[in-house]
Each structure stands twice: as C-alpha cells, then as structure tokens.
Symmetry: C2
Subunit: 406 residues, 2 copies
C-alpha cells in the first residue's frame, strides 16, 4: 500500500466540552510523531466554515506552551460551528469549494471533532470525496457532554461534566442542610433528549448528599406527579433537592422548558428555564419556598474540575483518529469499548460514521428506577469509572491558564 | 488575673461560605491546645437556636477524620440560623433561657461565626451577660462571601467565592468564543448591597477572558443605559458577557430583581432572577439572543475550588477568637488588617462588636470605573492576594469527602 503524504486538517463542531481541546492535543501530538505521513496540522477556525472560508490556524506557528495548555482549556480553542451541509447530490457548491481548498493545501487527512450532527457533516464529506475519487482519509473524533453518541461506551467530555455536576450537587445539598426549614431547590442540567448528565447528579448521593428526585428526558414528565413527589419529600425532610434535565417533555412530547421558540442552525429548539418554571410552580401551587439553579455553560466548560480519566481518553481518541487515518481507514468514528469492568479498561475501535450520525443514545430502562424519578445501581456502576482522577489546572495568580491560539 | 476554666460554645449563623467550617476547625484545634482554660468545645446546632433548644454537638464525640474534613466541607456543618434577638431590656425571655443553659453547661467562652446580623446577636448576648454580671468571654468570628463587614480588610469566605467566580467567568467567557455570532450572556452573582463578589468577576479579565460589563449594587442601575452599553459591545464583538449583582437597584433604590416580595427572618427581601429578567429584556427589546446563568448557592459552597489563602485565614480567625477569649477579651470581633501589600501580609486585631454589626462595607468609589460599569486597578490590587493558592479537596471515588458530625 503506497504511503500517502499530506497535511492533516482538524476542526471542532457543535457545543464545546471541557476536554474537546484535549482531543485536539491528542491529534496534534500524534500527528507530529507521524511525520512520515503528515507534513503539518492545519486547524479550521469555526469548524467546517473555516475550510470554506480558508480561515486556518497553523499548528507550526503556535508556541509549545499553548499546545500543552490545550489539555486544560475548555470551550473550543479553534472556534466551533453549527452548520449543516446539504446532500452533495442536491447542492454541491460547498463541496466544490472544499475540494478546491483540500487540493490547494494538500489535505489528505481530515479529522472532525464533534457530536451527532458533526458526524453527519463528516460522513457527507467522506461520501463526496469517495464519489469524486479524491484520496483523503476522514475520521470522526467523538465529543459531547450529552453522552448520546451511539456505538461507543461513552463520549469524551461526559466524564468531566458528570464530575462537575456530581460534586456541585453535593455542595448544594450540603449547603441546604444549614437551615432546618429549607427550600425546594431545582437544578437544571444540560441534555436535550438524553439524560446521562442529569442522571450523573445521583453520584452525589454516594456521599450521603445527593438529589432527592431526578427527572430525565427519557421519562415523560407530569407536573402533577412532580408536585406530589416534591410535596412528599418536603413533608418528611423540610427540604428537597431536584435535578431536572433541560429537555424534559410531557406525554405529548412537548418540552416543559419555557422555550423561546427559537431554533438553532440544526433546527433544534433552544431550551432553558425549566428549573425556574418548576420553582415558580412549587412556590405558587404548593406554597413551599423554592429556588432554581441553572449551571448554564459552566457544566460543559468547568476546566477547573476535569476528570483525569476523561482527559486521558479525550487525548487518546484524538491519537487513535490520526493512527486510523494514516492506516487509510476512512468514513469512520473512533469509538470506545469497555473491555473490562474490574479494573475498568477501554479499548478503541472504529465504527461507520453514518451510523453514528443523527442517532441519540438514551439512558436505558435498567438504569432508571421504577418510579421514573431516580436512577439505579446499574447507572452508578457505569458512570463511576468515568469521573475518576483529577486533572489539576495550571493556575497563575489564582486563575487558570488557557491556550491562546494565533 | 484569675484563670477561668469552662466550656467553649461555638455556633454558625447566616448564609454559609465554603470556608466557615475551616473557622470551626481553627476554633476546635486552638481550644484543644488551651486545655488550661477550656474543658470542651460544644457546638450549637443551628446557631443560637441550638443553645435555646439545648441542641448540641459535642466535639469530644466526633472522629478526628470528621474534624479534619471541616477544612474541606462547605455549608454550615453544624447548621445555621437566621434569628434576630430582641433588645433584652424589652424582652429578656430568650436571654434568661440562654443564661440557664450557659450555667448548666458552664459555658465561659462563646464564639459566634457569622456576618453583620450575627454580630448583632453576638453583641446583644455580650451586653446582657455584662448587664447581669455573668462571666463569659464573647467573640465574633467573621465570615461572609459578601465581604461587607466593616473594620476588617476583608472577610473569610470572600476569597474562595471570588476565586470560584473569577475562574468560572473565565470558563464561560472562553466557551463563548466558540461561535462567531454569539449571544449576550448575563451572569447573576450574590451580593445584596455590596458588590465585592460581582466585582471579582473582573479578575477573569487578567487572562484575557473576562466580563465586558459589570454592574454593582453601589451604582444605581438604569435599564436604558444597560441596553445601550450591551448594544455597543455586541455591535463590536458579536457577543457580550455581563456580570450583574443580584442586588442592583434603580435610582429610587428599588431592586431590579423580580423579587417575590418574600422577606427572610432578618427582614431582607429575597432576591434572585435579575439575570433572567435582563436576558429577557435584551432578547425582546434589542433582538439579540441572550441567556442567563445563575450560580445560586454554588458560589458560596464551591469547596472544590477554595482559595488556600482564604482557608488559612479562616482557620486563623477561629484560632485568634479563642486566644482573645481566654485572654478575657469580650464583645469584640476578630478583624484582619493588611499590614503589607508586597508581600501581602495580614495581622489579626479586635474590634468592638456593636460597630461591626448591622453596617455594610461597600465597594469604594476608587475601585469602580467612571462609567459605573466596571472596576479599576485598585480593586484588582486589593482582591488578587485573596484568591492565591488552592486547597486541594479530599476526593474519594471522584467525589469530595465532607465532614459528617454526630
């Protein structure tokens, strides 16, 4: 098999995680080792839009310090994008432009780091290049705090978000003990259709300080049942801590969220405000003092509390994508397989991109309790290995140091 | 001067901080060293109510592990209270009960850990015991994330909250860079009348990733000016990060917060919902996508990101209170004096309790910028030493370990 030498193009897409840049580090670091195949790592600014706009960051122009800091930098250090490519058979404008750019920069390896929607983009590009016979090896690098990508045991980014949620819920729970006549506290956690991250709040319970009720989008939400369950707990404990997914919806599938009706570029409704809405209901209908907490982007950006396991795996999926691409695999996503439970061990495999795209892996029934307001031991067994270890931040003058790409 | 031997009674009052239990540790640890004066440390459950209800925690019955974990435990490990004592000259019912309990348990040292309102309680008890000639040495131990106690350079609890706010604002800011056409993000930060904690969000700016606008309760808030300032920044940057104090009010002194009209036991209005209200205004009136983040109790409970300087000082104010009490000082609060700027150095002094009570120290003019929408270098110079160092949490299985008092 003839060796192919060229440049590697990498980009980030979709909502950031606190470790997506660790995957970028894995890609960069592995690519530098593979100089027989890869001349240079070029990074698209704002994902695929960067390629269309010829807006690139050249890794050879960055300082080593900024490259190393990627392991501690949240957000998307190179910018992200929400951009849906059309089917090239219907409209090949963008594809022709991509082909021009890929040829101009001799891009022979293309790695795209994202969630479901991004894997769709990645797969479409692979299909097009295959169709026109442009030799380029295309790999998906998974990421999402939502943990909803299929065919992978879990997704980089989830473990750190879960660790932040678990530890913060513990803190909120312990803080609530201050007063004997407490409040109902409702914490809103990210997760549009899959409740993995909201479920992770249950880890806090292992310490004795966890949520009393957990509502996932997998279970249709009933306001009446919610009020009954909150009342019962409040009657007993004089306080109640609730974890609720932003994406809960009623029996008819309508979001409980006070949605603004706005949609993002992928056509998803913008969510938010569920906790606040439910807190108002508790105060008004039950006459119980209540308050809401909305972590917002903090939960996906908390680089100050990363799971070391997650960071290491995020780096490794980046490396594996490079290795697979230079081995001339294409149109695949790196997936993680849990080879062993005790000790926890992950092996890396590859899976067809189109199957990974546009499908959401939800929390299975065996991980949700019978009442639909909490989780089971199966979930704890699954999630606990993912939050192990701490990736101590690089502090200077009491604040973190982040990568600053030129 | 005859040596007085008896028990030491300690309690916590008002809103928790992430380091109030570190002060408890300081009290306990110093008291154990002073066995010539102190037989045992007894702790009131839920502050002064614990004394009235004879509801005590005995330190001799706790494990050493639980005592050491106080340095890493947020919230009020012994419960807190919001309870206002009447003037004993008008109603001495509670005071007679306290006297009975103090005599029963031979309480000769009384330490109360709290903010402005708690210092009022502490001072009233000291006045009463002085009035009836019951020999008991009474010291206030300061705490509050609000940093609004007078006569002290700063307050234990503030540094850790400031460190959490600064680092989290950095993360939110970096996360916002992901998309070129961003949003207006409005973050609500605690602080009823004093903007110290909201101002601390500015520390994030030292990294290049900080808030664009900061609104403190010290400056009357104008919705029209706010909209103009947000528009200008959004026009330039296509995004805007705003830090806003929960306690901002208009020219007439009316809170902007969508207050429920509910008051706490001290007669303070319950706040919250400012960020959400302003985000709605930005979306509706300016047509700019916006979202709000409300840290809620996380900012005062984030034991996973404590300032080591703050923890050490919190321990020390506890120790100093014990030392002052056994030296027969009474009706005083431990205060911190900044003896030197470079290197930063604190000396501990004492100040009359009644002067510390019920007065709020606000952010002075020289620390607020001319436009009233940001801070000056004077503030940064003041705050930066307070967030230095990290108090690494005790993790087990990926989650923190907290003290569990029997």
């Amino acid at each position: 098999m003839a060796k192919l030498k060229g440049n590697l193009l990498y980009g980030q897409s979709g909502g950031p995680t606190s470790v997506i840049n660790a995957s970028a580090f894995g890609v960069i670091d592995e690519a530098r080792k593979q100089s027989e195949f890869i001349d240079e790592v070029i990074i698209m600014r704002h994902g695929i839009k960067g390629a269309l706009n010829e807006d690139f960051i050249f890794i050879n122009e960055q300082t080593e310090e900024d490259i190393q800091l990627l392991k501690h930098t949240p957000g998307s250090a190179f910018g992200s994008v929400r951009f849906k490519l059309p089917d090239f058979r219907e409209d090949d404008t963008s594809y022709l432009r991509l082909l021009f750019i890929f040829k101009k920069y001799n891009i022979r390896y293309f790695l795209y780091n994202g969630g479901n929607d991004s894997m769709d983009t990645c797969s479409k590009i692979a299909d097009y290049f295959d169709h026109i016979n442009y030799e380029c090896y295309i790999m998906g690098v998974p990421k999402t705090i939502d943990n909803d990508l299929p065919f992978t045991d879990h997704t980089p980014g989830f473990g750190s978000a879960a660790k932040f949620v678990a530890n913060t819920m513990m803190e909120i729970s312990y803080d609530m003990l201050a007063y004997p006549n407490g409040k109902v506290t409702i914490v809103e956690i990210m997760g549009r259709h899959a409740g993995w991250l909201t479920a992770s709040s249950a880890i806090a319970g292992l310490s004795g300080f966890g949520p009393d009720l957990i509502y996932l989008p997998e279970i249709p939400f009933s306001i009446e049942r919610f009020k009954k369950e909150v009342s019962e707990i409040y009657k007993k404990k004089k306080q109640c801590l609730v974890a609720v997914s932003e994406g809960i919806s009623n029996e008819e599938g309508i979001f409980i969220s006070s949605s603004s009706g706005l949609k993002d570029a992928f056509g998803h409704f913008q969510l938010g405000g569920v906790a606040s809405k439910l807190a108002t209901t508790v105060s008004a209908d039950l006459g119980i003092p209540s308050r809401s907490v909305e972590f917002g982007s903090t939960q996906r950006a908390a680089s100050h509390l990363q799971s070391l396991t997650d960071v290491q795996e995020a780096i490794e999926v980046g490396r594996q994508a490079v290795l697979a691409a230079i081995a001339k695999h294409t149109n695949l996503m790196v997936v993680m397989h849990r080879a062993s439970e005790g000790p926890y061990q992950i092996t890396y495999k590859l899976h067809a991109l189109d199957q990974c795209a546009n499908t959401e892996k939800k929390v299975p029934k065996n991980m949700i309790n019978a009442k639909g307001n909490g989780i089971t031991k199966d979930f704890i067994d699954y999630v606990l290995p993912l939050i192990q270890g701490e990736n101590t931040p690089v502090y200077k003058d009491g604040i973190q140091q982040f990568s600053k790409m030129k």
